[in-house]
Amino acid sequence: MRPSALNRPVRKSIYVGIAGLSLVGTVAGCAPSAAESNPAPAAGGSSAAATTPSAGESALASSGSSYKDGTYSADGTYVSPNGNETVGVQLTLAADKVTDVQITQHPSNPNTRKFQGEFAGGIAAQVVGKNIDELNVSKVAGSSLTSGGFNQAVEQIKSEAQ
């Protein structure tokens, strides 16, 4: 079912959120610093992601066109040469909208700390998001809108997966 124009960005943001989720298990890795000429380690990223919607439903499993309300969280663990790394993401969905995104910081991440310690600029321990429609901005710098063909392919895969 084609959502109305009004709903489109909303559905897109949900999907991107979920895509981020599925990726997070393996994206949290060591910092493969090319400056050190260390090739990135082989994949081996065993995602221990446990998606546990509080409503007791499984994510994206509904056969309808909308997503189940609830708070979805996933932890991903990844073994890097510097030890275990973990990242947590929590999404809250309500009426097909992402109402909250929390990225859980795991301060034991040694390589990120090292990465952060190598320059004299600024560091933010934790950035937070604010709703763009509540900000006084007319433009957004980001990459979520890139590539219509790619997005079409993702939509197709998504429909096949339902």
Partner: protein, 290 residues
């Protein structure tokens, strides 16, 4: 639109949406001229179309003459190839195809990750002349969108425009005396921003690893020395005088700390990591929500 009363010209080009905002309305002939530049660019550089110069080069090694923008692009890529120890290269096309990011958008890996060939082994990029001694899939994706932003900005300036903004779906270039407040898109939620910067007279480009993610741990920012996706940094921004440089450096930030890039480029940068922390150069001080 960036300022009240400005006119906006929207179109699709190189697979993405564009908005050019100008003080004066662009007439039909001006619009046609810009669209022709987009078509010329696509016909040269797209590895997604069968009739492009890049596709011809993938079929048949040899010496090819590219449009004028190739000269600066070659130097930019060569500098970054050296700075990243070969991780960032225009020869990454076949690696991307292997992981499923191919002309048919199959989005399914067709084998093990494929390291890119070494520049010095297969490629001679001399100004606008690009020569190969093997079939190589050139992919200028790391800088291409920004490069086209610059091409269109130059055309607008030639026409006499002094204040305008080019928005290539989130890669931005602003010219003119008045800055534009720009939100920095949240890496996991495009309805949110993690900060606001004032953009005036320069280009701001972003790259993110969670975009174009199409499988477990597979995304479009690859370390070309291994053919594997890069991990840890999830979103980057770069501010520079040209969009080609800003676009390329936003990708380079996935491989090299921003402080290293500052040694070779006039750039301000911001990197957000997978744990929600951020690192940035002085110009981004005070722009982030924390």
């Amino acid at each position: 639109m960036p300022h009240a009363g400005w006119a906006t010209f929207s179109f699709e080009g190189i697979g993405t949406g564009w908005e050019i905002s100008t003080v004066e309305v662009l007439g039909p002939s001006a619009q046609q001229d810009l669209l022709a530049l987009v078509e010329d660019f696509d016909a040269a550089w797209s590895r997604f179309r069968a009739d492009s110069l890049v596709t011809a080069m993938a079929r048949e090694p040899g010496s090819y003459s590219f449009p004028a923008e190739a000269a600066g692009l070659g130097e930019l890529y060569r500098t970054l190839y050296d700075l990243t120890g070969g991780a960032m290269t225009p020869l990454v096309g076949a690696s991307l195809e292997r992981l499923g990011y191919d002309a048919a958008y199959s989005l399914r890996p067709s084998g093990d990750p494929l390291p890119a060939p070494r520049w010095e082994d297969v490629l001679d990029w001399n100004g606008t002349s690009i020569s190969t001694n093997a079939p190589v899939v050139l992919d200028i994706g790391a800088a291409g969108k920004g490069l086209l932003v610059d091409v269109l900005a130059s055309a607008l300036e030639v026409r006499g425009a002094e204040a305008f903004m080019v928005d290539a779906s989130g890669d931005l270039l602003a010219r003119g005396p008045v800055g534009v407040p720009v939100g920095l898109e949240h890496p996991y939620n495009p309805a949110q921003a993690i900060g606001v910067v004032e953009l005036g007279g320069r280009a701001l480009c972003a790259s993110a690893a969670n975009r174009r993610a199409w499988g477990d741990g597979l995304h479009h920012v690859l370390d070309a020395t291994t053919g594997q996706p890069v991990r840890t940094a999830v979103a980057t921004w770069a501010l520079a005088d040209t969009a080609a440089v800003a676009d390329a450096l936003a990708t380079a930030l996935f491989f090299v700390p921003g402080a290293v890039l500052e040694e070779s480029f006039d750039v301000s940068w911001l990197t957000v990591f997978s744990d929600g922390s951020a690192a940035y150069s002085a110009e981004f001080e005070g722009t982030l929500f924390t």
